[in-house]
Symmetry: C3
Subunit: 192 residues, 3 copies
């Protein structure tokens, strides 16, 4: 089963790569490189299904050679917390938020049919059975393929996360202006 | 009343067409055709109001001559099921999901103020009174105007839908790579 | 504290401005003006956190010189109602909707952890402590910087809002076709 979830995404990504870059003509390499396609995802919701969409799109795009960035903000910031971290925050309001809204990409809730975790458990079982990797596995794959993970500075301050709370390999925290700069220079953006 | 809901969208779409393509100069036809505008909507949520937004944007864009595709995925996949289908899925987990989250575009729930169906009933009454077609009517219009409806292959597998479960006139199921290819070649995308 | 929330956004916006328009070369002014960057946000959800995202992105983009429009529709329309207005609508269904879903940008609910208003109260306290302006303050700033606020005509009709219900300084109500026209002519769009 583990083998299945490992293999399937690779097949998916190989297919993605072939679809988006179909047989580049010889000599076209340098030109293709010059105008590398890019994508930025604003991950705001942090629901299980939305985080799945974010990580599937990001890893598939990266596999096809696109330059991908994800900006993690508000509820969408919580998946960046290390799974073993239970409570985060400096003041009681921040601690209570992390208590009520458990951080970590392995603990996400569905926006509907959550049923105290039964919904997510069923979705993850169905996913595994059909060779779809979990959001956590997809995020790791995305990182390995060069997707840039940008934590939102404002969310980090407001919600009281420290760098020690967060998974490895993140970029420096940035603000909305950084995302808008990408959009202004032609990078397509999805708000998820 | 039925007349009203039939007439009104047509007026809306005629207006849309005039707004987006204002009086094309003679001879500009071929040039306009060469760079036809396009749009792709990733329909992920499946709420009544979000599905309304998707179908209004898609039909209005198509009426104005844009090439529109909708990619139906996750909760957004359920509106593609035939309204008369009550239970879908092969295994008990998939059946239970369709039992708890009734499929079909006539059975969508509001993301807030649903109140066991009272909210959607009120919204649909208000819509009819003001000449706004239902999501189902708008989707049929969109199809008639050439909007391409793309079912997500992964959602179909995971949630256990069969081709017989689905409404007529859909394209072949595709993956996220197909949508990303559109984005990479300059098609604006909305994640709804 | 008021000083804090007033100062901080200004600092944010100044930074934004510098990031997006880094040291324009002399003589490049006219060229830059010719291709002013633009952005349109479709504000559909009306949750506290989504309205925050909308107003932060809009005001930051405007501060950097982008031409920004926000199209307020469905639940996203409610923040345009004057805060002192309690009940809106002409018929009982519309009145009931405004009763259950209190309009006005100072009365928004979180999509999760709302807890009868405790969640929003905590979020706003944390925001103030960290120098983040409220959605209402950010919207006023956005207006002052020239962001165009477009009410959705269809939402206004369906939900029974009158011009007297709404805050000052809005554009004339428009339809989805206006937003699609912007997208068709190259304006990047975010659906929030």
């Amino acid at each position: 089963m583990t083998v299945m979830t490992r293999d399937a995404p690779e097949a998916l990504l190989r297919e993605a790569s072939e679809t988006i870059n179909p047989s580049p003509a010889p000599g076209a390499q340098s030109e293709a490189k010059a105008k590398t396609k890019s994508l930025v995802i604003i991950a705001e919701s942090g629901d299980l299904e939305k985080t799945w969409a974010t990580t599937i799109l990001a890893s598939t795009a990266a596999a096809s050679g696109m330059e991908v960035s994800i900006f993690f903000t508000f509820w969408g910031f919580f998946p960046l917390v290390r799974p073993e971290k239970r409570i985060t925050g400096q003041v009681w309001m921040q601690k209570m938020l992390s208590l009520m809204n458990r951080p970590g990409i392995d603990h996400l809730k569905l926006s509907r049919l959550n049923f105290m975790g039964l919904g997510p458990w069923m979705m993850k079982r169905l996913a595994r059975k059909h060779g779809v990797a979990s959001p956590g596995e997809l995020l790791a794959m995305a990182q390995a393929m060069g997707v840039k993970l940008l934590p939102c500075q404002m969310s980090m301050d407001m919600l009281g996360f420290t760098p020690e709370d967060l998974i490895d390999g993140l970029e420096e925290p940035v603000g909305a202006a950084t995302v808008l700069e990408m959009i202004a220079s032609g990078t397509p953006a999805l708000f998820i």
